[in-house]
Amino acid sequence: MNGESQPLRLTVHELCKDYVVRVLYDVQFELKTGEIHALLGANGAGKSTLCRIIAGLTPATSGSMTLNGELYNPRDKRSAESLGVQIVQQELNLIPTLTVAENLLLGHFPQRCGIVNRKLLHAHARAALDRFGLNDIDTNQMAGSLGIGQQQMLEIAAALDRNCQVLILDEPTAALSAGETKRLFTRLSELRKNGVGIIYISHRLDEIAQIADRLTVLRDGKFVSTHQVDEFKPIERVIDLMTGETEAAQHAIQNHRSYAIDQEMIRVSGLGRASVVQNVNFSVKAGERYGIAGLVGSGRTELLRLIFGADRTDSGEIFLRGETSPYQFDHPHTAVSQRLAMVTEDRKQNGLLLSQSIRVNTTLSSMELLAGSVGIINCSQEKKLVEVQRETMQIHARNIEQSVGTLSGGNQQKVAVAKWLLKDADVFLFDEPTRGIDVAARRKIHQLFDKLAEQGKALIIVSSDLEELFETCDCIGVMSAGKLVSEYTRETWSYDAIMQDCFSGYTQPETCSVSGSNS
């Protein structure tokens, strides 16, 4: 936005990073004061690794950096922080057993002689949350009791609250919905005015177009180029740079086809648990893709968990395949044996075995495919199956023995999806399926939805990214404050109507505006 004359805040020169193999090759990067600089690249391109090096979380193998013109070589996170470099990481890093306030100010407690001043602590925390519009979060609450979205907001609020010159946001909006994203952007604009240099990573290109000044593209750990964002119109053209193919972006928009057939696959009736989910009714046909929209904390994750039997329901039943006898799953095992599958939102907590290999993770729920009745695993068969999945999901890894914890965030998500693809199911529950997934892979997953629908599966897709729902779903239900307040079809939906319904549960608690058909 501003001219070329801005002084440089941070430069990165010929940076290399080796893990078992080299993941960054001679990367160049520069960040001016008062700019928002987007970092783009496919999953595993090395964006997070670069940011982690800048933030002092991991050392570079070679190369140099300068901050405000001086040589910059942070020993650890603390020394980076003291020089004014802050980071919000891609993965959540809260301490669930501490309160919201303590998490916000961890490492910066107001104290005297080591004794925490709790009044000040809560006052500071309150102020920080309010500044970010998080009025509804109690500073005394345990961080562990917040939903993923709220936790992400909390982490962002914590970083924004500290004074910094360089702010790194690694996919901050992956778990946020439109409202929160907007508030974040307002805040970022303010910081930019104050001269903070911001590195912004996101796979949502529209966000980049909206807020970033310049962008840098990484591909396979190599620096590709840096551009003004204005150079790309439409922004999708940047995908060519990321993938290295020309015209890749052309396939971006596909025509939607509905595969729904008139045969009910799953019907949820009166499902509820405490105040988190209340009396939810909907049904999904075979071949239908049913999206669920809502704000952070509206109970979408909880709804899926109830359907899948991960939490106890207080009320309600589930009918499958048009059968008349209802189910109430008391354990995911029973749900799975009734041919349900669920890709969870929080892959770190309950989606993946981080210290285990891709192979072990992929086949975990499909052991019956590999083992006879005695339970002895057919290893070569296993390897073959996993290789196939790795191919279809395009998981970027050294080999299938690499432990999932060392994969890039997006590739971890792909493993989580691959696990359930291997297992054949009738009903797929996807909770934020493309969180942290790059544009190309995201398209792959959308194609996958298409394929699953074509095979007559029922898909329930929860996403905070409305665009995604518009792109893929046949029907969208909106949740607000634990209730399913409305349903829309392709014909009836619009961005504004859905956003309005998202807020409805919070503004007028008793009335539900039910618009749309397909009930």
């Binding site: 650890d76 990481q89 890093n93 301490i95 057993t97 961890l106 407690f109 080591g114 005394n140 009791s145």
Partner: protein, 334 residues
Amino acid sequence: MNDSPAPVSETPSASRSVSENLMSSLLQYAGLLGVLALLVLIFSMMSQNFLSQQTLITIANHIPDLTVIAVGMTLVLIIGGIDLSVGSLLALSSAVLGVLMVNYGWPLWAAVPICLGVGAFCGVLNGVISVKAGIPSFIVTLGMLEMARGSAYLMTDSQTKYIGSSIEWIGVPMKGLAFSPAFLLSLVIVFVGQYLLTRTVFGRYCIAIGTNVEAVRMSGIRTAPYSITVFTISGLMCGLAGIMQTSRLSTADPNAAVGLELAAIAACVIGGTSLMGGRGSVINTFFGVLIIAVLQTGLAQVGASDPIKRVITGAVIIVAVLLDAARQRWKRRG
């Protein structure tokens, strides 16, 4: 089994009103107090002299060593570690005290700092090796258990050292007060421990480290100094407990406190401290110690045979934790 998914910790909030706070604390301790009351009730019915001032004093005066060690252990467990060496460290520091006072004729005031120092030094070793080399504290302290015990035997030439009255005053009831200085000191340490844990930066960091070290490191906090400090505190407590036990028995015994680590851990866990780290309360640990002590004394007064004692002790440990778990589940739901 892995712990049940991280239950909500119970730090009382700062901004509630005082009376609410009091109520919630009482409720928080209700489960353990209930178990304790039940035990007292049962033993009072079974033994004529159990419910007497004498018994109370008896119990009070022989728990200080276990108490202070359990306080240290609580901190260690909270950061996700474990300290198996406490019993041996107690014996070693007691041996040092005994040798200095008996063989070299040192006065008490001069021997005590050395004794505490030995405990703290071994604690530092535990901490540094486990933190810096990144090997589990279970194994480091298991090694220390053997080494410290061996050193205690070497030190004393495998002989018990009778010190006599010069040290006795610490462990026997004070004139007119019924409680020993050691007991009062252990109470002070319980309260200091609880304050440290809930009100200071150090305590908050300990909880955070036990919950997720990696996340704490990501927050720009150097975790090693805190972890090492915690092991040092545990070692120091062993030194202190060594003094307490030596004074109670007037004797330094290199065979002392075999298996004490399990008793201390049991006290912590009965008090609701998680073995996975991140959760615990010093006050509750103290209740755990009381439960163990009442059980021991009660069974002895009833005159139960050794096998029966062991069966009952085992059952009570399990039942106490079961009850507490049930109460917490109920509380979280209600």
